[in-house]
């Protein structure tokens, strides 16, 4: 998968590869190759320091972008996935289980998108059913009972819009998940790793700290949905993305995101080990701070944190 704005760069990189092949047959092209490589590096810089909101949406949805299970594999040890909501089913769009993070036992929960069509069908494109939120809830309660910190990874375009999902109370599942998270007595760390889509994201994202990868997006509605409602035209998604304020910078400015985790130049998928390292360091830092807090203080601070989210004014009546 190549992204539209990356095309000039990919073309240039393709040219360099070709030249290198030619060079293998004995022609000395070292100078030219080096020159083009420098040009490619400059191009990469200029592209990635001028990304539009819509470009970010493309990166956030990139199939090769690391997913929840990648982070679990790379940053956690002894992961045991735990299945099912103990009521109806196991939702493959949400993975959850116990593991250790830097030696400490934790509960980890995250939306799971696929990297190809086959995997996406299995994971329902990372769009949770009510059972996904209910699985998360039952494990949140267990984590609280045993004093385990909770780490959640957000990566969904939204909760699944389907007949059965509605029948089994999609809205109720999300509401009770959110409400439960506001009162849990254990630390909750949330990382938005890709796409944060509306209520389906927030259902596992009421963290004491909300971290966000630089090129991730998080929005109240998808740009496509917003464009359809505002202008009755889904193709205006690019314009909608720009107005929705869904980038990590804007959300930090609004006080909704606590820390932006910087990505390697070109996006997380272009240098995986650097990405994993950055996420691990951020998690480690915040977890150390949170585990020191007494449960009552933790809950009070979380209440105050979300209580302060809003921009209102008092109307002066004439």
């Amino acid at each position: 998968m190549s992204l539209e704005f990356e095309k000039p760069l990919l073309e240039l990189e393709g040219k360099i590869d070709e030249l290198k092949k030619v060079a293998e047959s004995g022609v000395d092209l070292t100078g030219v190759v080096r020159q083009l490589e420098r040009k490619a590096e400059e191009l990469k810089h200029s592209i990635y320091s001028n990304l539009s909101a819509w470009d970010r949406v493309q990166i956030a949805r990139h199939e090769q972008r690391p997913k929840t299970l990648d982070y679990i594999r790379e940053l956690f040890t002894g992961f045991h996935e735990l299945h099912g909501d103990r009521h109806y089913a196991d939702d493959a769009a949400v993975v959850a289980g116990l593991a250790r993070f830097e030696g400490r036992a934790v509960l980890v929960v995250g939306h799971q998108k696929g990297k190809d069509t086959k995997e996406n069908l299995l994971r329902n494109f990372g769009m949770p059913a009510p059972e996904g939120f209910r699985k998360a809830q039952r494990l949140f309660i267990m984590a609280q009972r045993f004093g385990l910190p909770i780490i959640t990874f957000v990566d969904t375009s939204g909760a699944y819009p389907g007949i059965e999902a509605e029948e089994r109370g999609q809205y109720e599942a999300i509401a009770s998940s959110i409400a439960l998270m506001t009162e849990l007595t254990v630390p909750i760390l949330t990382v938005v790793i890709g796409e944060g889509g509306s209520g389906g994201a927030l259902g596992i994202a009421v963290g004491d700290r909300v971290l966000m990868l630089e090129h991730s997006v998080y929005s109240v509605i998808s740009p496509e949905g917003c464009a359809t409602i505002l202008w009755r035209d889904a193709s205006k998604a690019e314009q909608a993305a720009a107005t929705l304020g869904l980038t990590s910078e804007t959300l930090t400015k609004l006080g909704l995101v606590d820390e932006v985790i910087h990505e390697p130049l070109g996006g997380a998928h272009r240098d995986l080990s650097l990405t994993y390292k950055a996420v691990q360091m951020a998690l480690s830092k915040h977890l150390e701070q949170l585990v020191k807090l007494a449960p009552d203080d933790l809950v009070q601070q979380r209440y105050d944190k979300y209580r302060a989210m809003g921009r209102v004014q008092r109307e002066v009546k004439v």
Binding site: G169, Q170, A179, R307, G310, E315
Partner: protein, 293 residues
């Protein structure tokens, strides 16, 4: 599709009217209104007396917040809180959005899509929140979240039960992620009421969907709903586009969710005040022997 389908009158699944039944276009039309459920012309005076419920088909039309207060509260008992809390334009959508807010404030005489305060229902003092669909479709932005949260915090201080009457399409797009966060903010306040042992009742009216359904509207100790009210998370059109099939009749109505176990009771508007009072009284005065009159 047969040719006759073109002529068949179809009842709209979603009542997109703002609740005042469409005025009938007939001589003396100021005296009559047309029901947006069945299309029948109804005598306006009867329609108002009947709490905007069609006497023919029973369709419950949307009410304004003030009409709702009048219907639910003892006369003169309502005392408004935070009447001056208004939204800002944090994402700089521009003058168009601010003008719409200004227009809706003038039209509804509300500061935003919810009216909050203290009131009495059959003598029982409650904190009351009433959403109004006529204000930006009842959408929840910072002001709605602030007013509801503040109302619950006051209920906590005063030790009052809370009644929340909802009517909303969901979170307000124009305030972006701040709107989404109102779901967490209001839900956190509900949990404080729960912990304090104060009853919280939700009354779902047409429509209660998306971000509002998925937060404070579905966290009630008791959840009542008006007949025919559309309730749900995803919009019908989005679901149809996703699954590429038509939705079954009655999908996402109050009755549908009562059947599936998410609504305690569907209650007709005319019985709503009494039912709310009786249930709240059972929760707040459990040991008081009230003689049945």
């Amino acid at each position: 599709m047969s040719i006759f389908d073109k002529f068949r009158k179809q009842k709209p699944r979603i009542d997109s009217s703002e609740g005042d039944a469409v005025p009938a276009k007939a001589p003396g039309s100021d005296l009559w209104v047309k029901c947006s459920g069945c299309g029948t012309a109804v005598y306006k005076k009867n329609f108002q007396e009947n709490l905007k419920v069609c006497e023919k088909c029973g369709h419950h039309h949307k009410m304004t917040a003030q009409e709702r207060v009048q219907q639910m509260c003892d006369e003169g008992s309502f005392f408004e809180w935070d009447s001056d809390v208004i939204s800002m334009d944090p994402l700089e959508f521009g003058p168009e959005y601010l003008n719409k807010l200004q227009q809706d404030r003038a039209k509804t005489r509300l500061s935003d899509a919810v009216l909050t305060g203290k009131a009495k229902i059959e003598g029982l003092e409650v904190a009351l929140g009433v959403m109004d669909f006529h204000f930006r479709g009842g959408s929840m932005g910072s002001a709605v979240g602030e007013k509801i949260t503040a109302m619950m915090e006051r209920a906590l201080e005063l030790g009052l039960p809370t009644v929340m009457i909802t009517s909303s399409g969901g979170a307000r797009m124009q305030e972006g992620m701040l709107s989404l966060m109102q779901m967490a903010r209001t839900s956190a306040a509900v949990r404080r009421l729960n912990k304090a042992g104060l009853p919280y009742m939700c009354i779902l009216t047409d429509p209660t969907t998306a971000g509002v359904a998925a937060s404070f509207a579905s966290l009630g100790d008791i959840i009542l709903a008006e007949p025919g009210a559309i309730v749900g998370f995803s919009g019908a059109r989005v679901i149809e586009q996703t699954i590429r099939q038509k939705l079954p009749p009655g999908f996402q109505t109050a009755e549908f969710y009562e059947k599936h176990g998410f609504v305690d009771k569907v209650v007709k508007r005319v019985e709503l005040k009494r039912t709310a009072y009786e249930l709240l009284s059972l929760l707040t005065r459990p040991l008081e022997v009230i003689s049945e009159s």
